[in-house]
Symmetry: D2
Subunit: 337 residues, 4 copies
């Protein structure tokens, strides 16, 4: 931590900061410039970061040198985390195509979609039974019945599946069905839910809050990781900006940023970021070019009848065409797909 | 809903939209311009808004005419909602000063603060026992012990208190102690929590998600309202923008915007929006000038030792000076304070 | 400047940074932590800030301790700058109400408005002859003819006036008419224009770019200041955020932030920030409560016929009512108005 | 335009809108819903869009159905615009790699870079002689001497070059040297400059304002186009968001969005968007995968000595490696590079 003193800070105030650091067993390195005194705090990161430096007399601001998370940082583990979901792999040179309906609506809708994405080359099925909706009057999902259908589809098409969990009270039940859990964008900072998911032995797709910085997102992963669940996959799904021509702004740079800062795999969601069907295919291609470890794409056999997010679902034939392009790109970039 | 067709949309596609509207018992009004056909959909708002118009052949986009929420809208109830919290009032010409420590840290810290804010003129005490922290290694609050201390302070200083609820499993327990509940900014779209709080008979301070639009925030209020709890107070506490000289950007315009769109009271949090002690007083003054129904301000007897958010806490004497200014402004603006 | 080295930075890289600092006559203070080495650079701010530290081997990032601007900083001049515009004053305890039409459309429209705002208590008239419009097909202003009308109105109603300048080639001509120049939000980083305006002896209203940080805005003021023109007034007029219920988000905190960082006066534009007539009055009241030195408000005798920004113009009687409220607030807050 | 009336709008107010439309020769289609009356305005887009609908009695808001720009829209010209810059091509299936130093600093620096990027496969040289700098104390470029060096480099290495223009007074002079002009991000809404550049017969790279919506950016292109210069290339270079791990957030979706809305080519700037050297290569690969028509990349032989933006410049060997990857991707995607 670097503590920048105010221009007029006096010796007593500087001594106050040094004393406070000494109390927590940390050292102070003082640099006296012409206009400002700067104090470098060296010692236990956790203890230093938690003191309210900005509230101390004479302090202008405190600038952290280290990130607040540890376990998910690249410095903690140099080699990439590679995750297995039954037959499928995410990371380690393998690009994972995850696809399926946004929400499970019926057996027929789910099975038609699952068969189509399996045939096109998807390795993991997506499909939700619980949906967080902005309006309380919208369709909220089929609940446990949806999970039963997903489990049947897994057997029928030999595809592991991922489903969203919304409520800490549902974690155990959903884990009984799903191969992988998903934390949605609205729940990225729902710390009660993160902790609960951290106690389960299932990989977790952790969507970025549409308003979260990369640092906050990695801190959310840390919540899961520190409870004992080390199988976290980061999902970039767009952030909220002033631009309205897309539903959110896909922050594609986040993929290489995360890979530099963390050992966790990163995948991209071109469907929920763009919210527009015609943008999904180009953004999915960009995902592999930028170095992501997979994508998660909405597919629906009849988007114009979808109960959730029909605007962005690919038709099965569009998804098959996309997968052809992905295979050509994977070959050019030395990925396995 | 206004459905705008693509430039080349053909008659069959226009008929498709009209047919779909007829299926849900709605009417279509077709306007044919030189470059676009536009279809006005008239009928049940809920059913119309839930169809995936953007996914239908020939449709360019759909523009909602009505808001998705009903009960919290000014059109549903013309007169202002006024809320009583024991001896205190929020709304109806009464400006409510809510103040206290960000987190309860000890009996001494809480009681010193409570006495000071009561003496200065606060009508409701704030103080949290459960804190959502970005890092899992930060102080998380005193839990139930904190609530017991708050209940003791209520008796001692005759001040009702508000406390944050983070987890749906804690709603019942916290309601047993607190006079008013608070939903924090990170949980504004935690629909499981909103529904649980909607079942309780206590007023709720609903903080705006720092990334939420006004419409999403009113939708969150709707979640609480439709479960039967009609005592919701909207709290503007800053939104996330590119500006970093303040912790968040206080969207002060949201107060008159909400008052035009809704009958619910609105208060302002100058502490968490700015994150800087020297900005709290001017922003608190602006709250009453802009027409808000109250403020919620952090006060701490020794901010440089605070375990949470010390940077922004006022000292007791600063809060007393602020309250003097507030009384002068209330007189000029015909408020009771 | 604080230079944070990468975790694995070696001695040669550290020496490289120290050597580079020595070359520009600066000193290096090295702090060696467990995980990072941090180098404090002490010496000439300008020379240190201009080197590409992030591109040097072994460097993770460089954190500036000092702001890049000098002359406009509070540290350069402790006392507030107070500005006189003929008979009017901005700053020094005087709140300046500036009002008038967004654009000059005709002699009649201008004179009716000028008379009304003068009668209500405005001390400076606004009115533009050159308008920057997003679309090239929109009304672009009356040009020099508009300035002539403004000069006539000045004589008739004894009100100094401010007008926008868009093009460096027009600065001299417009200065021949106007008492104060205005740099619009789109031109805040038009450095050619800022430099030209810096050579003129007229006060300048410098609107914040709707996308500019406070630091960038103060740097823009520095461009004007360093050319010799020290009469700069900062105008907060809203920033671009994700919120769409207002045209921009008024960053009201910017007023006290600027007053802490700079000696320049700050005023607020509630009209262009909100873009909605019913929000102008509450936001104008908040301007004085938050400690700003004035406001600039659009008034139009018939907004429904306005050629620019009619949606946000107050009617003359609404402006008169606002001024009554402003006088009550000024009395409560010890301002002269 | 769709005009939505307020809930309580009366017949007189509805008639007022209809009458106003009639005055400008437009038709009104009235749809009366249970809660709102909606009026569809059909007629001349330009005249309808310029009236201040929001200021008319009884009107809640006006929603435009059509975009304000015409000439640059896909509907105005169905086939893609393809641009030739001497020997180079942008668009029409040809991916254009533009590379070179951010600023021309010396003959040696420029020539070493030009040779390296030519050898690696770049088809156009970048290099600026005039730099807009946030601080007035930073290096501002070599001015006309820089252009002379660029012209020499063009002869020596047979590469056309692009240079930035900052001031309307310099357009003619710079056009005398450069093969292509560039409007920088800070000047995207500098309408005086756009108009001047519109009168020149040189292709123009139009950078997106880092705060501009796609619609505003296309409007800026319209300013150039309507003056007679039809050779405009759109450059996505990142937008300002809350995320700080990159300098700006590359809005990669803007490439397919623009290609759907306009016939103009789009290229991507991975250097200025990210501001970090290690992100440039992955983002440059994403540019071709998403369907852009080229990129513009900073290259410098010794970034640690660069006078501008050294943090993001690729070394010559890194650029050569990138070009190898680009050729593999171009082959997979059927582009010529």
């Amino acid at each position: 931590m670097i503590i920048v003193m105010k221009p007029g800070a006096n010796q007593e105030q500087i001594d106050g900061v040094v004393h406070r650091l000494a109390e927590i067993g940390s050292e102070a390195h003082i640099s006296t410039g012409q206009l400002r005194t700067v104090i470098g705090a060296i010692g236990d990161r956790g203890r230093i970061q938690q003191l309210p430096w900005g509230a101390m007399p004479g302090v202008e601001r405190a600038v952290p040198v280290l990130k607040p998370y540890k376990f998910v940082a690249r410095e903690f583990q140099a080699e990439d985390t590679v995750i297995k979901v039954r037959t499928a792999q995410i990371g380690g040179g393998v690009f994972a195509p995850i696809a399926g309906p946004c929400a499970v609506e019926s057996r027929d809708q789910l099975f038609r979609t699952a068969e189509a994405v399996r045939d096109a080359g998807a390795t993991i099925l997506r499909g939700d039974a619980f949906k967080p909706r902005t309006s309380p009057f919208s369709f909220q999902g089929l609940a446990e019945e949806g999970l039963q259908l997903l489990a049947e589809a897994r057997e029928e098409f030999d595809l592991p599946f991922v489903a969203e969990v919304l409520d800490p009270r549902d974690v155990e039940m959903i884990s009984g069905y799903a191969d992988m859990l998903r934390i949605g964008t609205r729940n990225m900072a729902n710390f009660a839910l993160l902790s609960e998911v951290g106690k389960v032995h299932k990989p977790v797709l952790l969507k970025r809050g549409f308003t979260a910085t990369v640092d906050e997102w990695l801190n959310a992963a840390e919540y899961i990781y520190k409870e004992g669940n080390h199988e976290v996959i980061m999902v970039e799904r767009g952030i909220r900006t002033f631009e309205t021509s897309t539903r959110n702004t896909l922050d594609i740079s986040a993929a290489p940023v995360i890979k530099a800062m963390s050992h966790l795999p990163v995948i991209i969601d071109p469907s929920h970021s763009s919210g527009r069907r015609h943008l999904v295919t180009p953004l999915a291609r960009a995902a592999i070019a930028v170095g992501a470890d997979g994508f998660i794409v909405d597919v629906h056999p009849a988007p114009e009848t979808a109960q959730v997010d029909g605007d962005q679902a690919l038709l099965p034939y569009e998804f098959a065409e996309l997968m052809d392009q992905m295979r050509a790109l994977a070959a050019a970039l030395d990925y396995t797909i």
